[in-house]
Each structure stands twice: as C-alpha cells, then as structure tokens.
Amino acid sequence: MEYLIGIQGPDFVLVAADNVAASSIIQMKHDYDKMFKLSEKILLLCVGEAGDTVQFAEYIQKNVQLYKMRNGYELSPSAAANFTRKNLADYLRSRTPYHVNLLLAGYDDADGPGLFYMDYLSSLAKAPFAAHGYGAFLTLSILDRDYKPDLTREEAMNILRKCVEELNKRFILNLHSFNVRLIDKDGIHDMEKLTVGAK
C-alpha cells in the first residue's frame, strides 16, 4: 500500500515517499511524512506495520544523535545502515520483531552518495536505485531501463515523475501526493511535492 523510492546519482541521492497514513480501508492522513532525518546528510525512509515504523525509526534516529554527542562526529551512511540492520536482525528472532521496510539515503563526505535497501528480514544491500511496496513491482522496470550511473538531477526527477505517472495509471490505490527530498554535499533539500490528480 505504501511506496518508497530512491535513486542515486554521481553526487546526490533522490528519494520520495507517498503521503498516505492508512488504517485498513480508510486514509487517516493525506500529508504524512515517512522520512526521518537521522543527521544532516542521512535520511531514513520507513514503511511497514503501524506502530513499528515510528518506534523503530525514532529509536535509530535518537541513537545516531547519541553517537554524535558522545564521539563528536557523525556516523557515516554506511555505518548507520549497518547499525540499523543489526538492530533489525537482533529483534528478528525475538518475540517482538519489527515489521518495517527501509531505505536509508545519505551523503558521505569521503565516499559520496549512498542508497541502502533494507527489509523486514534485515537484509541489507547498497543499490543504485530501489523501491518498496506494491508500487515497486510496477516501477522497478522503469528504473532498470532508464537509469544510468551518471544521471543528472533533472534526469533523476524525470525518472521519478515517470514512476509516479505509472503508479497513477496502473496501481489500484490512489497515491496522490509524494514527498521528495534530495541529499547532496550541502545537506538535505526539500523538493517540490509531486502531486497527481485523483484518477
């Protein structure tokens, strides 16, 4: 039902998430933000079971901030992703696993941009582009086709628009607006919300 997408460029990462907070068949909120800011250059996008998403994401967020306070410098995106995965893995075989699917996007001053795909079974993969949700089935082929490693920000936005158009055309659920953010060496930038008219 929920949709996350991330596209990594040579010096930026573009991420988008839908804005719907649903409870069975009802949309309770149309302007819900699914992105959590872990640090100045790292975003965590989190979807999944109702309470687990916020609890887990806020837990990771506070721990990343704590690391910065204790050590004086921030965790790199790769370190944050591995920390997140470790937490997911630790809870996986407990009585209370977290059912959350995540995308972690960040910019490391040393290694450059990074996009990390994680799912509720605590798998972790660094990928040039990734998506979560039923919408991923419809849009991953568009990404496979049009993605190139050296794409510009404009080209990445165009691919994102194409994906959203495809969802609007073929996905049975009405996801009519998406938060879009871009991370580069200057930090996290809020881009214009992508909205499509109701079908």
């Binding site: 009802i26 109702a50 309470g51 687990d52 916020v54």
Partner: protein, 268 residues
C-alpha cells in the same frame, strides 16, 4: 487496587528514578515505563480462558478542528457481538479542562487506559507544576501502550485539545491531523464530513454537521446507535452538549424529506 496487581503479574517494571541536579524545590522524578519489554511468556503460554462474550468493538466517534475550536462527537452504544450491552455509554471523557478523549475499541480497555492516562497527566502536573502538552500526552500514551502490542488490548483514542487532534491506537500509530473518525461507523461519518467540512464553519453549523455525521453512521452501522454525545473544546475549556436521542433525529430527517407523515405516524 487492580492496576498494580495487573502490572506486577506482567513484569511491568518501572525504571529507576533520576533526580535533577539543580537546586530546585521539586525533585524531578522520572517514572517511565520500561520500553520494548513485552508481556512475559506467561501471557502466551497460559491456559487460554474462553471469553464469556465477544469483546465490544463497534462504535462511531469523530473529531475535527474548525475556526471555533474542536468538536468531538460519538455515539453511545456498547455492543457485545450482536447484543447491545449498554445503550448509554460515555465514549467521550474529559481528561482535564482543555482535553477530552474519544474512545473506541474494547470498552473495558478504553476505560482503563483513560483512567491511567488521567492519573499520569495529573501526576505530571503535580510534579512539574505545569501541564503536559497534548503531543506529550499522546506520546506518553503511545509509549505506555507499546508493551501490550500484539496482545488483545484494543484501544483507539482520539485526544482532542482546543487546537489539535491526535489519534493514538494500541497498534502504536500516533497521528496528528485536522479530522479523525474512528470505529466501525467511521467510513459513513467520513462520507458526510469530507463533503461539508470547512474551516470557516460557525459553531452551530459545526455542531449540526458533527451530529449529522454520527447520525448517518449510526443509521447504517449496526454496532453504533442510541444517542449522540457532543463536546466543544475551545481555549476556554470544554463544554458538553446535552445528550440527544438519534431516534428524534431520524424522524426529523424523514419528515424533512417528506417521507414521514407526523399526523399519521406513518413512515414511508
């Protein structure tokens, strides 16, 4: 005292106290329920007791913000399976002078958690000499409910302040918004509210709209009905409207549409 027995049997431990280092008169003692600790295995391995009757879940509650404050409305039926267990329940409860909470889900759970919340808010006020904000209240409630996630606790509360509406449920969801309707009758209520709600309604129009939304939901939903409770919360506090029987509303509506002849007591 039932709550302490309840919490002890589930190993519900309270974290140790921290005191403020400042030289203040009020020692700040933080009693936070320990997080991420689910009920012990005793809960799942115990011999399951057969319920004497199905839990009551059906309801219609709603809340919305407009220029004149916040309206909270709910029906008054408590159902247990197909039986109307009680036709005159209070589903909207004041927590303090500027906060009311509408409840849906299991009636017993809601009553208990409302009382626990009221107690914790009052304790906070006494300890810190100021009221906890509504967002803090919602977060506190969400954290208190977290250990019971995955059990049969079913609580979906909408905290209605005078400028904020926050929905908290036992699944862990915590959402702030402008309009919420919860319960088995909520889709019907949304249908009425989404069409006619706007920010610039005056107080009478808002009350009429809320009442109509609850009425339409109770008309279609079997598990909602009887009367409608209405609270209006402003910066001056909450005010409760007198409980109204929806049967009268039904006949008034029929008459308005020309489908009911009052003199003949005939509804077409």
């Amino acid at each position: 005292y039932t709550v302490s027995v309840f919490t002890e049997s589930l190993n519900f431990k309270w974290r140790g106290e921290m005191t403020s280092k400042k030289a203040s008169d009020v020692p700040l003692e933080f009693h936070v329920p320990s997080l991420f600790k689910r009920p012990s295995s005793r809960a799942s391995h115990s011999v399951s007791v057969r319920r004497p009757f199905p839990l009551s879940h059906g309801t219609t509650t709603l809340g919305f913000i407009f220029q004149g404050g916040v309206i909270a409305a709910a029906d008054t039926r408590a159902s247990a399976g197909g039986l109307v267990a009680c036709p005159a329940v209070h589903k909207i409860t004041p927590i303090h002078s500027h906060l009311v909470v509408t409840s849906s889900g299991s009636g017993a759970d809601c009553m208990l958690w409302e009382r626990i919340l009221t107690r914790e808010i009052r304790l906070y006020q006494l300890r810190h000499k100021r009221r906890l904000s509504i967002r803090g209240t919602a977060k506190l409630l969400s954290l208190m409910l977290h250990p019971f996630k995955g059990t049969d606790v079913c609580v979906a509360l909408t905290l209605c302040g005078w400028d904020k509406l926050i929905y908290v449920c036992s699944d862990g969801a915590r959402l702030q918004g402008d309009i919420f309707s919860v319960g088995s009758g909520s889709p019907y209520a949304y249908g009425v509210l989404d069409r006619s709600l706007s920010w610039s309604l005056n107080k009478e129009e808002a009350i009429l709209l809320a009442r109509e939304a609850v009425f339409r939901a109770t008309h279609r939903d079997a598990y909602s009905g009887n009367n409608v409770d209405l609270f209006h919360v402003t910066a001056e506090g909450w005010r409760q409207r007198q409980r109204e029987d929806l049967k009268e509303e039904y006949y008034r509506d029929m008459e308005k549409r020309g489908l009911y002849n009052k003199t003949l007591f005939l509804a077409i």
